[in-house]
């Protein structure tokens, strides 16, 4: 990017990635709406609101009406879910574009037009796609290996009291940690690819170098953000439990909607913080020759 393309530095320079972040979260909302709409429409058509109290009855304790609606709408719901998963997959792939734009924005010290970030993202899109495919396959293989090992371990320690439960559980915990570490590697590689305009293999090498050099810092940042996300979801669950939409009152629905969207904003912000850290960590990495 040429120096002249940069916008003037403003007091909120610290949020130079603001528009990209907004695009990133907006894309998530649109993607979610695309997945949710067919399901909500099917449930509504199947009678989820077939009551003098609207859809309140479908949320009543015991789930009598809800179960009936789901039972009868199952073929349509199943089709809607399948379509939703395809949509989600396509949107997940397309989601690499706003992610790339956000990473691009995080590499810039000053605010830059959003279209430039998207242009840059489109340029590295094949690289981001290759990285995602490679590391998702690696995660799958790793989980499969761990499952097989846990199953064998479970059989070996069967009938040995608590050990028969704790040993496979421990292995699964290790497996989960490994999967998350591969997630860290993936984001570091994405950051390197965007920052240094690298191809997939070079980005992966760069990310491995970063991880070797700053494993503690990277993991700490990643797990702190993941922890914060989980905390936000749990807090929202606790708050909405108190709001109890199974009781009458439109304000309850509005309040629950607000709480949920705040929780999701927290998730987006946590992701933003982690990606910012990932970009910073990859900045000092010596590039592969």
């Amino acid at each position: 990017m040429s120096e002249s393309d940069a916008l003037p530095v403003r007091p909120f320079t610290r949020f130079a990635a603001g528009p990209a972040l907004l695009a990133f979260s907006g894309w998530r909302l649109i993607a979610a709406a695309a997945v949710a709409a067919p399901i909500a429409l099917e449930l509504g058509a199947a009678g989820a609101a077939a009551s003098t109290v609207g859809d309140l009855d479908a949320f009543a304790p015991g789930a009598l009406l809800l179960s009936d609606v789901v039972r009868r709408a199952l073929p349509e719901l199943s089709a809607a879910l399948k379509a939703g998963l395809v949509v989600a997959l396509v949107l997940a792939l397309l989601g690499l574009l706003p992610l790339g734009a956000l990473l691009s924005a995080l590499t810039e010290p000053a605010r830059t037009p959003l279209r430039q970030h998207f242009s840059r993202s489109a340029r590295v899109f094949p690289v981001l796609l290759g990285l995602s495919a490679t590391l998702l396959l690696a995660q799958g293989a790793w989980l499969l290996a761990v499952s097989i090992c846990a199953s064998m371990l479970g059989a070996a320690v069967a009938h040995r009291g608590s050990l028969s439960i704790l040993a496979p559980l421990g292995l699964y915990a290790v497996g989960l940690l490994g999967t998350l570490e591969l997630g860290v590697l993936l984001d570091l590689a994405r950051a390197a690819a965007v920052r240094h305009d690298l191809r997939a293999r070079a980005a992966l090498t760069c990310a491995l170098g970063t991880l070797r050099r700053s494993a503690g810092a990277a993991s700490a940042a990643y797990f702190a953000c993941a922890g914060a996300s989980i905390f936000a979801i749990a807090l929202a669950a606790r708050l909405t439990q108190g709001l109890d939409v199974s009781r009458p009152g439109s304000w309850r629905v509005a309040a629950v909607f607000g709480v949920h969207q705040l929780a999701l904003l927290a998730l987006v912000f946590a992701r933003y913080l982690w990606l910012k850290r990932a970009v910073a960590l990859s900045a000092n990495e010596a590039l592969p020759v």
Partner: protein
């Protein structure tokens, strides 16, 4: 047998049977007349059973070869009105002898597991002698009647007829080869579960015929009451649980013998394993013992808690549990098919170790269900082969009632802000099979295991829950309690059950129960044709004292009044009284009643605001209603804000987790 395990395999199948005719034929010998039923009371129930067949057994377990060497003495009395020329023996273990037996030859696999046997098993009778020493076994039939491939139902001719009231002592020697657990019985590693493991007399009916049958995968059992003295000889390392009270224990040369005595029961089961941990508690004066795989303390604790609630609860509702002990056996995961089964004073539970973390109440559910069988099978000893709904169905109601009394609306599942009740689950599965077959069909005539679950278990429960909600929950509890007390230690039929319901709940309730249980009765309430208009002064030509008067249509007077009407129809044979809720535009609600008789009923409305919606059965009393969505009619578009909010949030979380 456990209904949750049955629920798990519910699916599709169909068959309509002419059951009412069969029912009338089969029930005739035992049917009490309505007049007789009117005079029944709990005081008529005996305080202990008539002991027709008592057993003394010595059994030695070879835990390595999975064999049991047994000797058995049966003391039998001809309590019927006819002389007996033959005896019938159930050799249930032969159901697992090869793939051609009635139990295993189903193309769909065997019973609830749907699995074929991996290792086969059998019981060989080596001798069957009278007290005089006369050998009877050589004259016994070699196979079940009309089925050369099955050896589970064997006729043994008697050399001389046994007169009514006369007694007989028989001695047997037998050897069991246990199967790898197929269903209920067998071994898995060093775990051994022995149910239906010894040669057993079929139930003698009052008219002198034996209620004998081949072991069908859908069927359970039926036997006379008696006393059981069973001495078990097992490797000393084994922990043993069994029906009855443990007496003298002796250990010698690596073997231990334990003498068990169970009085007034109709079966005996036991388990032996060298990896059992044990928990004990005294509940309502009963010594409760839980045997579970070591490491699964949490499961044992939940099961014990379930008994702490349900045993006093059932005592109060259905009469006091009369035995001193209750043993719960939680089999290891690998032997899951031994779980979810009932025997006198011993029940098997089950579920993997993580069950308690999933939000389901599977452990409590299975424990309370099997405990309920101590009444609906153990004490009220109905013919499980001929009338499976009388034990599994009524017990599924008792289970749902107890679970909801204990856990409320989240009695089946509670997590992630969603609560699902046991009655919802019962209705859900019941509705999938609606009127496929009569609920009261004999086990062998039910066309699939899934139908067995949906109809025998869940539709019976849903029917009783509906009657309870419509005619009174307290009344239903009392009625069922009257039935269990009246027929304690007896063998009632469907007619006996219905007679008690008629006396306790009235003719309408009994009619609905009979239709739903015996005749494939269904019901679906439908609301339609809602209309509402502003009331206007009548126009037209009217005869008045001063001659004819013509009144023209004019504007409705202020404040406006509205008239409306909604039509409610009932499809199906079942009749239940229902309420109809009418909603006006200003939010006011009112309810009108309909006795449910007739095909359709018009509900008229008059009020200061237009009628905008109507809902049949707003409190969901009629759980048997096939389709709840057509109970509602409205002139407004549906309000689905909650639905959209939840769907969007769920999708947002999915996208957050799955997307980059």
């Amino acid at each position: 047998m456990n209904r949750t395990l049955v629920d798990a395999v519910l699916g599709t199948a169909f068959c309509a049977l002419t059951w009412p005719v069969l029912f009338a034929t089969r029930a005739a010998p035992h049917a009490a007349t309505p007049a007789a039923a009117a005079s029944l009371s709990a005081h008529d129930a005996p305080s202990e059973p008539e002991k027709i067949a008592s057993y003394t057994i010595l059994a030695r377990l070879d835990a390595e070869q999975h064999r049991v060497q047994g000797s058995e003495v049966i003391r039998f009395q001809n309590a019927s009105s006819q002389p007996l020329t033959e005896l019938w023996f159930h050799l249930y273990l032969n159901a697992f002898k090869n793939d051609k037996t009635l139990f295993l030859r189903s193309p769909f696999g065997a019973g609830r597991s749907g699995e074929k046997a991996h290792e086969y098993g059998y019981v060989d009778v080596k001798h069957l002698r009278l007290a005089s020493g006369e050998e009877l076994w050589p004259n016994a039939d070699r196979h079940s009647p009309g089925d050369p491939d099955d050896e589970t139902d064997i006729r043994v001719p008697l050399p001389t007829p046994l007169a009514p009231g006369a007694r007989l002592e028989l001695s047997l020697e037998f050897e069991d080869k246990l199967p790898e657990i197929v269903e209920r019985t067998g071994y898995e590693g060093s775990f051994h579960m022995l149910g239906q493991w010894f040669p057993k007399l079929a139930k003698l009916e009052p008219d002198g015929h034996f209620a004998h049958f081949s072991f069908h995968p859908h069927s359970e059992f039926y036997a006379d009451f008696g006393d059981y003295d069973v001495t078990l000889d097992v490797p000393t390392r084994m922990t043993v649980g069994a029906t009855g009270v443990a007496g003298a224990t002796r250990s010698e040369a690596g073997r231990t013998t334990i003498a068990y005595r169970a009085e007034g029961v109709h079966d005996f089961a036991w388990t032996a394993w060298d990896h059992f941990a044990e928990a004990r508690s005294v509940v309502a004066g009963v010594d409760v013992r839980v045997l579970y795989p070591s490491g699964e303390e949490r499961s044992a604790e939940l099961e014990l808690d379930a008994v702490r609630f349900a045993l006093p609860h059932f005592n109060e509702l259905y009469g006091a549990y009369p035995y001193k002990t209750l043993t719960l056996v939680h089999p290891p995961d690998a032997a899951g098919n031994a779980g979810g089964m009932e025997y006198p004073t011993l029940i098997t539970t089950g579920g993997p170790w993580y069950t308690a973390l999933t939000g389901t109440r599977l452990l409590e559910d299975v424990t309370i269900h099997e405990l309920g069988h101590q009444w609906f099978y153990g004490l009220v000893a109905t013919n499980e082969h001929e009338f499976p709904f009388l034990d599994e169905g009524l017990n599924s109601y008792a289970e749902a009632e107890a679970l909801e009394a204990r856990f409320g609306s989240g009695s089946s599942f509670e997590a992630f802000g969603l609560s699902v009740s046991s009655s919802t689950i019962a209705r859900l599965f019941s509705a999938t099979r609606g009127g496929d077959q009569a609920v009261s069909s004999p086990a062998a005539e039910i066309t699939s295991f899934r139908n067995l679950g949906a109809l025998v278990y869940e539709r019976t429960a849903t029917t009783l829950l509906t009657v309870a909600r419509v005619y009174g929950e307290a009344q239903m509890r009392h009625a069922l309690g009257s039935y269990t007390r009246r027929f304690r230690f007896q063998h009632p039929t469907p007619r006996d059950f219905l007679n008690v319901m008629r006396r306790e709940l009235g003719a309408d309730a009994e009619k609905a129960l009979a239709s739903a249980l015996l005749e494939r009765g269904t019901v679906d309430y439908v609301a339609r044709d809602l209309s509402s208009v502003a009331a206007e002064p009548a126009a037209g030509i009217f005869d008045a004292p001063n001659g004819r008067e013509t009144r023209k249509r004019g504007p409705a007077p202020e404040p406006k009044k509205y008239q409306g009407r909604v039509v409610v129809c009932r499809h199906g044979a079942l009749e239940f009284p229902v309420e109809i809720e009418l909603l006006a535009e200003d939010g006011t609600r009112r309810r009108a009643g309909w006795d449910g008789r007739g095909a359709c009923h018009a509900v008229d409305y008059a009020g200061s605001s237009p009628l905008v919606a109507a809902l049949v059965d707003p409190d969901h009393r009629v759980l048997l209603d096939d389709d709840l969505s057509n109970n509602f009619v409205s002139t407004r578009s549906p309000q689905t804000s909650r639905l959209w909010e939840r769907a969007l949030y769920g999708a947002e979380l999915l996208v957050s987790g799955a997307a980059p």
